[in-house]
């Protein structure tokens, strides 16, 4: 920029720009401090808001958090199932299960379950399945049931109330729980064979505790014939861990933001003290205290705004990177984080610049100019 001789620009603005250009090193280090503070605050706030949703998604890996069961021993009618499905639609993943006790060719009792295997795959990702059934006539066999039914993977026969069904094992399922002793079929085949309707619907409801409990009450209204209950093991564990993770995050955010803010404070205080000669000269040639304060405040505000903007962009980037690296899904940038970051930056810079200025005001220009 060429020094302009004409006074086209107002004096105040010229002072601001010239001060920034001539003292670019100190201004730069102050600006860096502000950018760092702003980006750290943005990243932490963004993460803090978003992490809950990300972790909830992980918690859904535990499977159903609501179980709808037909009352004592019965099974659902077609209407009941429709009501339950429409109540759960959009709020969670609902998977029907039908059960029957059949027997092997040796007469040993075995639990046979009919379900929508595609949905189960999504509901219970922890199931260790060697191969899912692909076509009719195939079954998913629990690892313990396999030892009895088909130790070497050969086709087997199951009986239920005098009717038999020939099945070939597609693969095995291992869960370490009751599923290991069962045989899973597709619901259509199960119904064609046994004529039984589903008696249990397992639902993995998305969202916060409030959303889950509102779904619970909707389900209770729409299916009065059913027994609707939350899986307390899953819901209570989730609430407990989310709470603790959030408070750890919150405290970390407070630490990081306050260190950054204090360092901005330190940097800017030093910066103002360093320029006491300039202020003394300004005062000596007739500037009022107010004018000097306005000048410093203007500078600080410009620095804070630029720093907040750049820091916000950097912070959004950092949050997105952390999201991608850790949750394999970027943390979406939140614009509503910007106003608090900007206000915080302005506040800290104004305090950091105007406070030392007040101390300097009582000193005579002559003393400062003499270097005392």
């Amino acid at each position: 920029m060429k020094p302009r001789q004409s006074t086209g620009t107002p004096m105040f603005l010229r002072m601001l720009t010239r001060a920034a250009i001539l003292r670019k090193r100190t201004a730069l280090s102050a600006l860096i401090a502000i950018i760092v503070a702003a980006s750290a605050s943005t990243a932490m706030l963004n993460l803090f808001v978003d992490v809950q949703g990300k972790l909830r998604k992980e918690f859904r890996g535990f499977g159903a958090n609501i179980i709808v069961e037909a009352k004592t021993g019965g099974s659902f009618t077609r209407d009941d199932l429709q009501h339950i499905n429409s109540a759960a639609a959009g709020h969670g993943l609902a998977v029907p299960f039908a059960y029957a006790v059949g027997h092997t060719s040796d007469g040993e009792a075995v639990v046979i379950a009919g379900t929508d295997l595609e949905l189960v795959k999504r509901l219970n990702p922890w199931w260790a399945v060697s191969a899912w059934p692909q076509r009719p006539g195939q079954a998913l066999v629990g690892v313990r049931a396999e030892k009895i039914l088909a130790p070497s993977g050969e086709p087997f026969t199951l009986g239920y109330q005098g009717r038999t069904l020939h099945l070939s094992p597609a693969g095995t399922v291992r869960t370490g729980a009751g599923e290991d002793s069962r045989v899973y079929l597709s619901l259509q085949e199960f119904q064609a064979w046994t004529g039984l309707q589903p008696s249990v619907v397992e639902i993995a409801a998305y969202g916060s505790a409030a959303e889950v409990s509102s779904l619970l009450s909707t389900l209770r209204q729409s299916a009065p014939a059913a027994d609707v209950r939350p899986v307390r093991q899953v819901t209570e564990g989730e609430a407990n861990i989310l709470k603790k993770t959030r408070s750890t995050l919150l405290w970390s955010a407070i630490f990081i933001v306050s260190t950054a803010a204090l360092c901005v404070l330190a940097t800017l205080t030093g910066w103002v003290f360093d320029r006491r000669r300039d202020f003394a000269i300004m005062k000596a040639i007739g500037a009022s205290d107010w004018l000097i304060a306005a000048f410093v405040a203007g500078e600080a505000a410009v620095l804070a705004s630029v720093g907040a903007l750049l820091g916000f962009m950097a912070g959004v980037g950092i949050a997105a990177w952390i999201g991608r690296a850790n949750f394999h899904a970027p943390v979406s940038p939140r614009l509503d984080v910007f106003p608090p970051v900007l206000i915080g930056c302005l506040l800290v810079t104004l305090i950091a610049t105007l406070l030392p200025l007040r101390l300097l005001r009582h000193i005579q220009p002559a003393m400062i100019l003499r270097g005392e």
Partner: protein, 416 residues
């Protein structure tokens, strides 16, 4: 002379030095606290994850199939069983300190008022001894989501809990009696679990064994253990590993290796991870650990930059001083030596105070959030001091170099 210069510099410029020291102290405190949290968070969260209940189950090696739908157990009584007197051995395995609790279960089919029901025998808070070690374990530890309205039964009594659904069906309240197979037993509480136990009677293990006429028998043991997320190495078959790898596998708290060790101490048993709990636990644990690690990196970076910026400003203010020293004939080496010494002194003082502050912070935070202190390893101290020195240098180095290179005349005239 050198010592005097440094000493006077600290004495006369108290404000500036205090500012720099504060910045270093803060940075060190936050770094210490964050590193301590990042190191310990895995441990803390895996203890919290125990609120999901048992993650391992031990069954008899040649057990029949479970024939259970919901709470209706159609399995005939009898069959293979584990032996109760083997239970304390669980506290003797390599990873015994990672076992937070275990609960045996013995389901028995009984008649209650003419109808079939399941009575579940278990420990509530049984005290066992292994060697000289005494410990308490049972359902209250491994199933924290069980809620009892009334009192918990004593483990050596014939007091029982009745599941809330069964209780409302039979019209039983806590304090009344329930007739099990023709014998009256006192009901001390109504249990609500949100699961199959709501339809069952829960009784001390001894009572269930007497009713089943199988003294000392146990059907299943649920074990709650603090584990490490499983990885590819964990899934290897221990028999196919080299001896060195096998030792490493055995001595890592994977769900698989703990299951293997349980199987070793309990005769005729098969131990397996409960995948719903164990697998998801691993996922969540590694997510939260990863998150804290990344945040800690961000925190280190932030405090490093912020402290550097503060240092740079503070150093830049001293260019006149440097100019004067140069005018009086100080060489570049002498000058650098003075400033380096000052920076190291500052960094060490700030780092020490910051480390102590950070350790205190981490401890307090652990108490507030997790109810148990986060310990800071003394090994961290040299690391924090080193980081403080590096950051202080990085911040002041540019300013010092510039100042040392400047013409003293310009510096003294204030034109630098």
């Amino acid at each position: 002379m050198f010592v005097r210069l440094v000493y006077e510099s600290f004495r006369r410029q108290t404000r500036r030095k205090l500012l720099m020291a504060t910045a270093v102290t803060l940075g060190a405190a936050v770094s210490t606290a964050m590193i301590a949290i990042a190191i310990d968070i895995g441990d803390k969260i895996s203890h919290e994850l125990r609120s999901y209940g048992a993650n391992l189950v031990v069954t008899p090696a040649d057990a029949n199939l479970d024939v259970q739908i919901g709470s209706v157990n159609l399995k005939p009584a009898g069959g293979a069983a584990l032996i109760e007197s083997d239970l304390p051995k669980i506290k003797g395995i390599f990873w015994r300190n990672n076992i937070t609790g275990f609960t045996p279960e013995l389901p028995v089919n009984v008649k209650v008022g003419g109808a079939d029901a399941t009575l579940l025998g278990t420990y509530f808070a049984q005290t066992l001894t292994f060697g000289k070690q005494e410990f308490t374990t049972g359902a209250r530890k491994t199933f924290p989501w069980w809620k009892v309205n009334g009192a918990w039964p004593a483990d050596d009594s014939n007091q029982v809990l009745v599941g809330e659904k069964l209780a409302s069906r039979l019209g039983i309240k806590s304090g009344s009696k329930i007739q099990i197979n023709g014998v009256d037993d006192p009901v001390v509480g109504i249990v609500s679990t949100g699961s199959v136990e709501d339809d069952e009677i829960v009784a001390p293990l001894g009572l269930a064994q007497r009713i089943a006429e199988e003294p000392g028998a146990v059907g299943k043991i649920f074990v709650s253990a603090v584990t490490k997320p499983e990885d590819a190495f964990a899934r290897r078959n221990p028999d196919s590993l080299t001896p060195a790898d096998r030792d490493r596998w055995y001595c890592s708290p994977y769900p698989q290796s703990i299951a293997f060790q349980l199987q070793e101490v309990i005769p005729h048993s098969h131990a397996e991870q409960i995948r719903q709990v164990a697998q998801n636990e691993g996922n969540i644990l590694s997510r939260i650990e990863g998150l804290m690690l990344l945040i800690t990196l961000a925190a280190l970076f932030t405090s490093g930059l912020a402290v550097s910026a503060a240092m740079a400003t503070a150093m830049f203010e001293r260019r006149q001083e440097i100019g004067l020293m140069k005018a009086l004939g100080a060489g570049q080496f002498a000058l650098s030596a003075i400033f380096v010494t000052e920076a190291v002194l500052l960094a060490c003082a700030g780092g020490l105070v910051g480390f102590a502050g950070g350790a205190l912070l981490a401890r307090k935070l652990g108490q507030t959030i997790f109810g148990s202190a986060i310990a800071v390893e003394p090994v961290l101290l040299p690391l924090i001091l080193g980081l403080a020195i590096i950051v202080t240098f990085a911040g002041s180095a540019a300013a010092i170099r510039r100042a040392v290179k400047y013409d003293p005349v310009n510096a003294l005239r204030g034109e630098a």
